[in-house]
Every structure is written in structure tokens, then in C-alpha cells.
Amino acid sequence: MRLYFAAPTKAPTSLEKQFARIVDLFYSAGVTVLSNRQEKNVSDLTNQDLEKMESTGENMIEAIDGIVIEGTKFLPESGYLIAIGLAHKKPILFLTQSAKTIDKNLLEIKKEPTAAKLLNLKTYTQKNLDENLLEFLQQIEQGDSGEKATIKFTLRMTKKIERYLQWKTHNTKLSKADYLREVIEKIINQDQDFQKFIADNS
């Protein structure tokens, strides 16, 4: 999963700590984070991906699964990010430490059914920050497209593995990719450390 995290590039130390905590939690949950606070926003995107986007005109927003904005301190580009995120049907988490800092226009847009589903406006405390973040990850995973295999990446196999996959799926209705997805699902369900991590933070 790939998320875009936006927050002011300059903020008081207490807020900076929160930003770091948000990014750390995502990393520890296995999420790739792109951010306006990083020098390069390309993260795990390959040069080939970037060149393709460049030539086709595809928006970078298409390459991510959700947007997280820390809006306690005003971030000028937050309105644009929310607008373009909604246009591309991406889930958005807008975090703030005080409800007072939420723009009334955002509250207004929440009245629309589609936007209400995608836009999460949350006030958070030290105690419930992790919970809010993990809830958001689950929302993305369980969302309309979350259960469809839509994420593509290149995985190079050895001849031996390829021969095994061929043997395993031969004369079955499963494709090699289906079989691999099933195996990974099993591993996720049986991984006690990962299940504990999810349970502890929800």
C-alpha cells in the first residue's frame, strides 16, 4: 500500500514529533509513504513508472491508495489535495488536534454521500492517534476496491519457482497469480506477530 502524507514543512517541535510518529506507524505497518516533507516524492516508484506517468499525463495521485493530512497547523495545499483526492476517489484522512481548525468548507463537503465516505475528518490525541491511523488503513483495505487485486508490481521468479507454479496450477482453474495471492492471504492470517500488531492498535 502507498500513502501520501502531507503536513507543514515547518512546525513546532511538538507537532514535528506527531508527524514523525504518523510516518513511523505507517512504515511499521508495511505502508510506503510519499510526502511533501521528503525531498523526493518518488519513493518506490521506478523510473519506468515515472516515465510512463510523464508521457501519458497520468496524475501521481493515481499511484497512491490514500491521502493523510495533518492539518493542526494550516497547510495551504490541503484544500487542493482533498479536492483532487476526492476527484480520483481516494480515501482521505484529515487529522487535527483541535476541531476548531477544521475549515467549514470541509464540514460542508462531508454532507455529500460520496465525499462523506471518502473524507475522514478526525481530531486526535496522543492516545488515539495510532488507532485513527490503523482504522484508516483498514478502511482502504476494505474499501470498494480494497479486495480487488489492483496493485501491480514486477516480481522476477527463478526457473525453479516458475516450474513449480506451472506444475501446481496446471489443470486447475487457478492462474499462477491467483495461487500466489491465496498463499500470501494464508501467510497473513497465520502471521501471529502481524495479527497482534493489528489487534494492539485497533
Binding site: 495545499e77 487542493y80 479536492a83 476526492l86 467549514k104
Partner: protein, 309 residues
């Protein structure tokens, strides 16, 4: 709390949205994403396919922009693909001195592309119109392109138009990034925001209808010839066009034409660094500034609005 949003005018000059004029204000209000980015006020020029656009419409567009320049930080023109580069070129010359961003985009989508494309183009255009740039530009896909240098892209992509690298002065990633060093300073001078509509355009091809051309040119105040795929002009055409030495003839080549014979003809003006739509519109604009062929020649050679490729 409510934060102040930049005020942007949205001028409709095409078939999108296909709704009654009295429903436009509520349509804009319903585009809730837009309203987070800016306070958008709609204006209507016309609601038909922009294949029907005429220079009169460009003048109306200019009048709306001029009249409202003080009330908005920028202007977005919603146009169909047809003629959009002509409209962009016209606005580039007409709005000289207004110092406002004018961003053209389309509500049309290609058949194989999803519906969000037009909404995304519109949001990106509104965002670009909120930035302090003195440019007339096109916003499609992930590029902000100088309008007077834009050309239709043959590649099936979100980027419907392309231009030389120096004319792509904005990119969309997780925001609209403007490359300020690529913004140009426009020509100084007091120019009339006017266009001479009385021109004839000729596209070179075998078997041109010379008889009709000969009959018509007497009523015209300028000729623009598309010689983009040629190196010479047909002799018959040269004969007709040199009869009236006071008739400006702009010849649009794809590269510098070294033909000495043509260079000696007083009323011939060769241009090689303009797109065809810009050559046509710039000729209309130049002929509205002056009738003097030498001055027209000077204007055509000068980079007035960043149009020189």
C-alpha cells in the same frame, strides 16, 4: 472556521456542461471539490461545440476577463478540444497587459478514459488560476502549457496537448508546481486588444483553386499560408499574391526558408517559429495594430506573448 479562498472566474465557452444557462450557478455549487480550492463564479459565452467558435467569441471572452480582472485572481475557460489552441492564442494577444492567469481546459473526455479526468482537469485548472502567473495556458493531464505554443498531441493520453519543454512551465504531482524561471516577460508597448477578421487562410496542396483565390484576395486585408510541409510556394500562387504589393502575405513554414526570391517580395512575411493556429491569430492581431507591411513584419518577428517556438 472558514478560510478565505481565492476568487476564480469560470467562463464556459463550449458544450460542457450540457445544462440550461439558469442551472449553471447551481451546477458550479454542486462541484463541491472545486469550492474547497476556490470561490468559483461562472460566466457563459456560449454552450455549443467549440468547433463553432469565432473571433467574435474571443473578443467577448476578452471583454469578460477585462471587466472582471479586478474581482478575480484568475480565470478558467472551459472549452472543447476543437479550436482550443486558437482560443488560447487569441487570448494570449488580446489580454496583454492584464497580468492575470488565464487557464483553458476541457470538460470533454476521450472515450477510453474515465470520467474523473474532466473533474481533475478542472480542479488543476482552478488551482493554477489561483497562482500569480501572467500567462494564458492549457491545463491537461499533468502539464500546464503556454497556450500560444501548444499543439494537439497525437498520443492517446491525458496530456491532450504538447509543447516544447520551455513552454511547459507547470507540472502536476501532488500540487501544481510552477517553474518560475520558464515564465516569460511579455513585450512592452501599447497594443489594441483587437483582431482583424478579414483574412484568408490558404493550405498548400496540389490543384489549389487559383481562380477563387484571385477573386477573393481583393476583398481581404491579409493572407496566411500554411506551408508547414513545403519548401516552396507554387508559381501560380506567387503571381496572384504579388499583384497587390500592399496585401500582407504571411507564410508559415516549419523551418527557416532561405528562398531569396521570396525574401525580395515586399509583401511576403515568412514566419517559421509559430504554430499554425498562433500564426493565424497573430496575423489577425498584427493587422488590427497596423496596416503598414513593414510594421506588420516587425510585429510578426517579435516575441509578443511568448509565442515564438
Amino acid at each position: 472556521m472558514t478560510r478565505p479562498r481565492p476568487k476564480v472566474a469560470l467562463i464556459i465557452c463550449g458544450s460542457y456542461p450540457n445544462i440550461k444557462p439558469d442551472q449553471i450557478a447551481s451546477w458550479v455549487k454542486s462541484l463541491s471539490e472545486l469550492n474547497i480550492v476556490a470561490e468559483v463564479k461562472p460566466f457563459l459565452i456560449f454552450q455549443k461545440s467549440s468547433t463553432n467558435v469565432e473571433s467574435q467569441n474571443w473578443l467577448e471572452l476578452f471583454q469578460i476577463i477585462k471587466k472582471n480582472a479586478g474581482n478575480f485572481v484568475g480565470f478558467v475557460v472551459l472549452h472543447d478540444f476543437d479550436n482550443i489552441v486558437y482560443t488560447a492564442a487569441a487570448l494570449s494577444f488580446l489580454t496583454l497587459g492584464l497580468n492575470k492567469p488565464i487557464v483553458l481546459t476541457s470538460g470533454q473526455t476521450a472515450k477510453d478514459q474515465s470520467q474523473f479526468e474532466s473533474r481533475a482537469n478542472l480542479i488543476n485548472a482552478i488551482q493554477s488560476a489561483s497562482v500569480k502567473i501572467n500567462e494564458v495556458c492549457l491545463m491537461f493531464g499533468n502539464k500546464l502549457i503556454r497556450g500560444s505554443q501548444a499543439q494537439f498531441s497525437q498520443i492517446e493520453a491525458f496530456n491532450k496537448f504538447d509543447a516544447p519543454l520551455e513552454a511547459i512551465f507547470g507540472r502536476v504531482d501532488f500540487g501544481v508546481r510552477i517553474f518560475k524561471k520558464l515564465l516569460i516577460k511579455k513585450a512592452n508597448g501599447i497594443f489594441k486588444p483587437s483582431l482583424n477578421q478579414n483574412i484568408l487562410t490558404i493550405h498548400l496542396q496540389p490543384d489549389l483553386d487559383y481562380q477563387t483565390i484571385a477573386q477573393v484576395i481583393d476583398q481581404k486585408q491579409g493572407i496566411v499560408i500554411n506551408a508547414k510541409h513545403h519548401q516552396h510556394l507554387p508559381e501560380k500562387l506567387i503571381t496572384i499574391l504579388t499583384k497587390n504589393q500592399n496585401l500582407p502575405v504571411v507564410i508559415c513554414w516549419s523551418q527557416k526558408n532561405e528562398n531569396e526570391q521570396l525574401a525580395k517580395i515586399k509583401n511576403f512575411i515568412s514566419v517559421d517559429q509559430l504554430t499554425w493556429p498562433t500564426a493565424v491569430v497573430k496575423t489577425m492581431w498584427a493587422l488590427a495594430q497596423t496596416k503598414n507591411i513593414k510594421k506588420v513584419k516587425d510585429l510578426m518577428a517579435t516575441n509578443i506573448a511568448g509565442e515564438i517556438l
